[in-house]
C-alpha cells in the first residue's frame, strides 16, 4: 500500500480545455456532440470539480447548462410534480410544492452538505453522479421518480429504478446527454414518506446511512397497497430493497409485517466495512432501525399509523 501523492487535488489544475456556455438546449447538445463524448455537462460542479482536480476524470470541454432557459422550474400538474434539470438542492428544500407533495425529498435536499453547496448543487447532478448514498437520489428512488433525458436522438424518459448501473455509472451518457427534468407522483391520499439519515455530525458530512421510505395503504382495510424502500450506501448503487417491499405488498399494516420487512431489508443490504463510516455489522443493524422508523413515519403520514 502507498499513497499516490499526485492524486491529491492540489497537485493538479483542472484540465478542461474549453468552458462553453450554450444559449439553448439544442446548442448544448451540439456542443457535446462535437467533442465525441469527451466533453461534460457542468451545473453546480460540486461533484465534478473535485473529480477533475483529482484526475478521476479528464475532459476536453465543460458545457455549462446552468443558464439554459426553462431548467430551474418546479411545477405540479395534477398528480405529477416536475423539477427542471437545473433545480438546486436549496430550491427543492425550500419549495412549498415539494414540501407538500414529498416531504422526504425536501428533507433529503436539505441534508446535502452546507448552504453554499445546496445553493449551487443540483438534484440532476446528484442523480448523474451515481453515488450510492446521494441525499436526493434515495428519496427520488423511493418515490419511483422518472427523469427526462435530452440526447442527439431526441428526448426520452427513464425510470430511476434501474437508472443506476454501478458506482458513478447511470443510464445517462454524461458526455452526450443532458437531464432536463425529474418527475414523480405526489404522495397524496393514502401514501406517506420518510427520510432517515445517520451521520457523525449534524452538517457538512456524507451519511453513514440513508433510508428513504414510501408507504401506500388502504386505510379502510388496513393493508399495504405498496411500499418503496431505498437505502444507501449499502451496495455499489442506491438500493431498492425489493424483497422487503414484496413482503409488504398486500400485507396487513402491523408491527409483524414491518418487523419481517425490516429483517429482509437488512439481509438485502451489504454495506462495506469502512474505518470512517462504520462497520458492515453496525450499518446492517441501522438498516433495521431506519427502515422500521421510516415505515412507521410513512404510515402515520398516510393516515394509518402503527398501533
Amino acid at each position: 500500500m502507498s499513497y499516490q501523492f499526485n492524486e491529491f487535488h492540489w497537485a493538479n489544475d483542472i484540465k478542461a480545455g474549453q468552458y462553453l456556455q450554450p444559449a439553448t438546449l439544442a446548442e448544448a447538445l451540439d456542443m457535446l456532440a462535437s467533442f465525441g463524448g469527451k466533453a461534460r455537462v457542468i451545473a453546480g460542479g460540486t461533484d465534478l470539480v473535485p473529480s477533475l482536480r483529482q484526475r478521476h476524470l479528464e475532459v476536453e470541454a465543460l458545457v455549462d447548462v446552468s443558464r439554459l432557459p426553462g431548467m430551474d422550474g418546479i411545477a405540479r400538474q395534477g398528480e405529477v410534480v416536475s423539477l427542471g434539470g437545473g433545480v438546486t438542492h436549496a430550491q427543492a428544500a425550500s419549495s412549498p410544492v415539494v414540501a407538500e407533495a414529498a416531504g422526504l425529498l425536501a428533507a433529503g435536499a436539505g441534508s446535502v452538505g452546507s448552504p453554499q453547496i445546496r445553493n449551487v448543487g443540483t438534484l440532476a447532478g446528484n442523480l448523474i453522479a451515481g453515488q450510492p448514498a446521494a441525499d436526493t437520489s434515495l428519496p427520488l428512488l423511493a418515490l419511483d421518480a422518472w427523469v427526462t433525458i435530452a440526447s442527439p436522438q431526441g428526448q426520452r424518459e427513464e425510470p430511476l429504478n434501474g437508472f443506476f448501473l454501478g458506482k458513478g455509472r447511470t443510464k445517462l451518457d454524461p458526455g452526450r446527454e443532458i437531464m432536463t427534468g425529474i418527475h414523480f407522483k405526489a404522495l397524496g391520499q393514502g401514501r406517506g414518506g420518510s427520510y432517515q439519515r445517520l451521520a457523525k455530525r449534524k452538517a457538512m458530512t456524507l451519511p453513514m446511512l440513508v433510508a428513504a421510505v414510501v408507504a401506500g395503504v388502504d386505510p379502510g382495510r388496513k393493508v399495504f397497497t405498496g411500499a418503496a424502500i431505498a437505502l444507501g450506501p449499502v451496495a455499489p448503487t442506491p438500493l431498492r430493497a425489493a424483497q422487503a417491499e414484496a413482503l409488504l405488498a398486500g400485507a396487513p399494516v402491523s408491527a409483524e409485517s414491518v418487523a419481517a420487512a425490516v429483517e429482509k431489508a437488512s439481509e438485502e443490504s451489504s454495506p462495506r466495512d469502512s474505518c470512517l463510516r462504520g462497520s458492515c455489522d453496525y450499518r446492517r443493524e441501522m438498516v433495521k432501525v431506519f427502515v422500521r422508523r421510516g415505515l412507521a413515519d410513512a404510515l402515520a403520514q398516510a393516515g394509518c399509523p402503527l398501533d
Binding site: 455530525r201 449534524k202 458530512t205 462504520g278
Partner: protein
C-alpha cells in the same frame, strides 16, 4: 461589549482576596482597563477582511518550495537521482540531505528530525528532497521527476509493540524515548486500605488541530547575510533557535517575523520550525526568497498531532468515597520524531505533564504513575491545547464516575469528598498554598446547572422516544507556564513625548486575544487607555525573548513582564508629576490619561503633559521587564516537587441526548465554570471558553486521525470531522476570580483549560444517559451503539 451586556452569560461570583503582593494591583475595583470587556484590537480587521495573513502578502519574485515525501512508513533510502528534476526548466534547486549547510536536524527539544532525510524515512510524509521552482506547478512537476529507490522496512504502529523485544527500531538508539516515574506514598498500602478498587484502560487517538489557516512560510536571505523567516508561528524564538544551526549561522543572523495566525492550538509551535528550516535551506541555496505553503492534506500528513495515549488506571477508595490510592500507566505515543514530546527538565514534555496530572485534582496519599514516551512509525505527536492534560482527564474523570457508581454515590459527591482545596497536596507533593477555586467551580456549576436534580431525572425523554437524556460532570486543573527551567518572558515599553505607547513582546496572536489583553495590562499599569498602546508585532529582531506562546502562559508571565516594564516608566512619570504638582509620589495615582493626587483628585495633570516634560528633561521613558515563574522542581526518580507555580481550576456540566437505538449523541445543554484568578477581558475569555468546549466536544464525539498501517485515511476536512455550529450547544460560562498572588492583577492562564474537562463531562453524560461507556475515543454513533449492547442493551422504559 460592556459588562452589563455580558451579565447573563458571564457571572463574576466570587472574589477572594488573599494577601495582595506586588504584582496583584493594589486597588482592583478601580481598574479602568483591566477587567473590562473591551473590543479586541483585531476584531474589526478580521471581520472586514482587511487583516493580512502570510498567504495574502505579495509573492512576487518568490520561488515556490515543495517537499518530496516518503510514500512508506519505514524504509531505507538506497539512492536518489535528481538530474531529471534539476534539468526541468524553471527549477532553481533540487536538494537532498547533503545540501543542508549546517546541522541536518531540527526539533523543538531534540533535533532528531532531518531537514531532508539522508538514509532512512520514518513515517509517511517524511521529507526526502526539497525543490524550489519559479511556480508551484513546476515544483510539483519536478517532484515527480526525482527517482528514489527505497528498501521497505518492517514498521511499528503501537507503542506497546514498539517496546517489545525485537521490534523494528525507529531510531538507532531504540524506541523508548523516556520512562518517567511518579512515586508518592506506598500504593500497596493504599490499595490495602481500599474497600473498592476499579481497574480500567482508556484510549485516545491522534487528533489533528484543524486550524483554519494551513501552514505557510517565507524565507528570504537578506543582503547583509541575515536569513529572514516569516509566517504564522507560535514560537518565533524556537524557530530561530533551529534555523540558525541548520544554516550554520549564529542566532543573531536569523530573524523570525510572526504574522497574524489563522489558528494554532499548539500545532504552530513546531510546524513553523519544520517548514521554516526547509524554506531557509532552499533560500540559502538559491539566494532567492522561497515561499512554501501546505495544502490541507499536507498539514494532516506532515505536522504534529495531539499525542495518542493508552492509559491504564487502578483507583481505590474506602466505602465512604475517600480515595486511598491511584496507580497509572501511560503509553504516550510520540510517533516518528521527538518534537515537543520528550522531558525538558524538570517538568516539561507531554508524558511528564500527563504523569503529573494523571491522578486528577484529588487528594490522595498514595500515587504511582509510570509514563512511557515511545517512538513509532506514525506521524509525530506535539502540543495541542492542553499538552498531555486532556488525555489524562479523560481517564481520571471517567474513572471517578465509574468508581462512584461502584460505591453507589453520586458523581458530585465523590468529587466533593476528594477535590483539591486550599492547602491540599498534589500527587507530586506540591502544597497548593494559594488561589485554589476548584470546589467553588463545582458549586457554581451546580448552582447554575442543577446537576443533582437532573441526575435523578435521567431517562427516556418521553414514553415513545428512543432518546434518553443524561448529565455528566468533568472536573479539571491546568497549569499556567510550562514547567521547564527556562520559562522567562521579556517585554519592552516605550512611552513617547505625546503620551503614546509602544509595547514590544514576543507573544503571538492566534485568535486567543493576546494582542488585546497584553496592551490592556500595559495601559492599566501606565494609567492610559487601550487605544494609546500600540503593540509591536513579534519580530525576533525587535522584541525581547519571550519564550513560546503556549502553556496558557502568555497573559500571566508576559503580563507580569509588562507590568515590570511599565513600572520603570511610570516611576519617571510619577517623579516628574510630583515635581510639577508639588505632591509626594506616594500620593499620586495614574488612571485614564491623568496623574492625580489621591487626596485631592482635582489636582491632576495630563499623562501626555508629564511625558512631554520627561522627554524635555531627559527622564527615562523606556522600560524593560523580565519575569520568570518560581523555579520548577520535579525529582527525576520520584516525580515529587513543584512542577508548575499555579493552576487554573474548572468544572463542566453537560446534558446529552443519546438515541439508544442508533448511538447518536446530541449535547443539549452546557455550563462551564472556571477559577481564572482574574478575567482581564471577560468577553474575550468567554470566547476562549466557548471555543474550548466545542473543541472538547469534538474530541469526545467525532475527532480521530484514522491511520491504517501508517496511512492516514482522512487527510481532508471532508473526512476529518470537527464540530459544526449545529453540533455545539449554547455554552454558559461562569467565571470565578480567586486571586493568584503571582499573576498580573491576580490572573492565571486560561487558553487551554476550557477544552480539557469538556470531553469527560460529555463522556460521563453519555454513560449516564444510556448505560454504555466508550473507553476508546471517539464516542461516535457506532461505538456508543456497541457500548450500549455491551451494557446489556437499552435501559428498560
Amino acid at each position: 461589549m460592556d459588562k452589563t451586556d455580558a451579565k447573563d452569560q458571564v457571572q463574576v461570583l466570587t472574589k477572594t482576596k488573599i494577601d495582595l503582593s506586588r504584582l496583584a494591583c493594589a486597588a482592583p475595583a478601580a481598574n479602568a482597563v483591566v477587567g473590562q470587556s473591551l473590543q479586541r484590537t483585531d476584531d474589526l480587521l478580521k471581520v472586514t477582511g482587511k487583516l493580512k495573513y502570510q498567504a495574502d502578502l505579495p509573492k512576487e519574485d518568490c520561488l515556490h518550495g515543495k517537499i518530496l515525501r516518503s510514500p512508506y512508513p519505514h524504509a531505507l533510502i538506497k539512492s536518489i537521482k535528481t538530474d531529471k528534476a534539476k534539468s526541468l526548466p524553471g527549477v532553481a534547486a533540487v536538494l537532498t540531505a547533503a545540501d543542508v549547510p549546517g546541522r541536518n536536524g531540527f526539533g523543538a527539544i531534540i533535533p532528531d528530525q532531518p531537514v531532508i532525510c539522508a538514509d532512512k524515512v520514518r513515517f509517511v510524509g517524511d521529507g526526502v528532497a526539497l525543490v524550489a521552482a519559479e511556480t508551484e506547478k513546476i515544483a510539483l512537476e519536478a517532484l515527480k521527476l526525482i527517482e528514489v529507490e527505497y528498501e521497505v522496512l518492517p514498521a511499528v504502529f503501537d507503542p506497546r509493540d514498539s517496546l517489545a523485544e525485537g521490534a523494528p527500531k525507529v531510531h538507532a538508539q531504540g524506541n523508548l524515548i523516556s520512562h518517567d516515574k511518579l512515586r508518592k506514598g506506598d500504593v500497596e498500602k493504599g490499595f490495602a486500605e481500599a474497600e473498592v478498587i476499579l481497574e480500567r484502560t482508556y484510549q485516545v487517538p491522534f487528533l489533528e488541530h484543524a486550524y483554519l489557516e494551513p501552514d505557510v512560510v517565507l524565507a528570504a536571505l537578506q543582503p547583509d547575510g541575515v536569513m529572514l523567516v516569516q509566517g504564522p508561528m507560535q514560537a518565533p524564538f524556537t524557530t530561530r533557535r533551529n534555523v540558525a544551526p541548520v544554516l550554520g549561522l549564529p542566532i543573531n543572523k536569523v530573524r523570525c517575523v510572526q504574522i497574524h495566525m489563522g489558528g494554532g492550538f499548539g500545532g504552530k509551535e513546531d510546524s513553523p520550525i519544520d517548514l521554516g528550516c526547509r524554506a531557509a535551506v532552499l533560500a540559502w541555496h538559491t539566494k532567492r526568497p522561497v515561499y512554501m505553503s501546505l495544502e490541507r492534506e499536507e498539514v494532516t500528513l506532515q505536522t504534529c498531532k495531539r499525542h495518542p495515549m493508552i492509559m491504564q488506571v487502578k483507583i481505590g477508595a474506602s466505602k465512604d468515597g475517600k480515595l486511598t490510592a491511584f496507580e497509572g500507566v501511560i503509553y504516550d505515543e510520540q510517533g516518528a520524531y521527538a518534537s515537543l514530546g520528550p522531558r525538558l527538565p524538570p517538568a516539561g514534555g507531554s508524558h511528564v505533564h500527563a504523569m503529573v496530572m494523571m491522578a486528577g485534582p484529588y487528594e490522595m496519599s498514595h500515587v504511582k504513575v509510570d509514563a512511557y514516551l515511545v517512538y513509532t512509525n506514525h506521524p509525530y505527536g506535539g502540543a495541542m491545547r492542553g499538552f498531555g492534560a486532556p488525555q489524562v482527564h479523560i481517564a481520571h474523570e471517567q474513572a471517578m464516575d465509574e468508581l462512584a457508581a461502584l460505591l453507589g454515590i453520586s458523581p458530585l459527591e465523590i468529587r466533593r469528598i476528594n477535590a483539591f482545596k486550599l492547602g491540599s497536596a498534589t500527587a507530586t507533593g506540591q502544597v497548593l498554598d494559594q488561589s485554589v477555586g476548584l470546589r467553588e467551580t463545582l458549586e457554581a456549576c451546580e448552582k447554575s446547572f442543577g446537576f443533582s436534580k437532573r441526575f435523578k431525572q435521567a431517562g427516556y425523554i418521553n414514553p415513545k422516544s428512543s432518546k434518553r437524556r443524561g448529565v455528566g460532570v468533568g472536573m479539571g486543573w491546568y497549569r499556567t507556564s510550562i514547567g521547564t527551567f527556562g520559562d522567562g518572558c521579556g517585554a519592552n515599553v516605550h512611552v513617547h513625548e505625546d503620551g503614546s505607547v509602544l509595547l514590544f513582546t514576543g507573544i503571538t496572536e492566534m485568535g486567543q486575544g493576546a494582542f488585546t489583553v497584553l496592551p490592556q495590562i500595559c495601559a492599566e499599569e501606565l494609567g492610559v487607555c487601550l487605544e494609546d498602546v500600540r503593540l509591536v508585532k513579534p519580530d525576533t529582531d525587535q522584541v525581547p525573548e519571550s519564550g513560546p506562546t503556549v502553556g496558557s502562559r502568555s497573559t500571566t508571565l508576559m503580563g507580569n513582564a509588562i507590568i515590570l516594564a511599565a513600572r520603570q516608566v511610570k516611576e519617571s512619570i510619577l517623579e516628574k508629576a510630583s515635581e510639577m504638582l508639588m505632591v509626594p509620589v506616594s500620593r499620586l495615582r495614574a488612571s485614564q490619561r491623568k496623574i492625580f493626587d489621591c487626596e485631592n483628585p482635582e489636582r491632576s495633570l495630563e499623562f501626555k503633559a508629564v511625558a512631554t516634560a520627561c522627554m524635555a528633561t531627559g527622564k527615562r521613558l523606556i522600560g524593560q521587564g523580565w519575569w520568570a515563574p518560581p523555579m520548577a522542581t520535579l525529582d527525576k526518580e520520584t516525580g515529587q516537587g513543584n512542577p508548575y507555580h499555579v493552576y487554573t481550576y474548572s468544572t463542566h456540566m453537560a446534558e446529552v441526548e443519546v438515541d439508544v437505538e442508533t448511538g447518536e449523541v446530541a449535547v443539549t445543554d452546557y455550563v462551564a465554570a472556571f477559577d481564572v484568578g482574574k478575567a482581564i477581558n471577560p468577553k474575550a475569555l468567554e470566547g476562549q471558553i466557548e471555543g474550548g468546549v466545542a473543541m472538547g466536544l469534538g474530541y469526545a464525539l467525532m475527532e480521530e486521525v484514522a491511520i491504517v498501517q501508517g496511512y492516514t485515511k482522512n487527510l481532508g476536512l471532508n473526512n476529518y470531522l470537527i464540530p459544526t455550529i449545529m453540533d455545539v450547544p449554547n455554552v454558559k460560562s461562569v467565571i470565578l476570580e480567586m486571586t493568584n498572588n503571582l499573576g498580573p492583577y491576580g490572573a492565571k492562564g486560561i487558553g487551554e483549560m476550557p477544552n480539557i474537562p469538556a470531553t469527560p463531562a460529555i463522556l460521563n453524560a453519555i454513560a449516564h444517559a444510556c448505560g454504555g461507556r466508550v473507553r476508546s475515543l471517539p464516542a461516535d454513533p457506532e461505538k456508543v451503539f456497541w457500548a450500549i449492547r455491551e451494557a446489556g442493551g437499552p435501559p428498560p422504559r
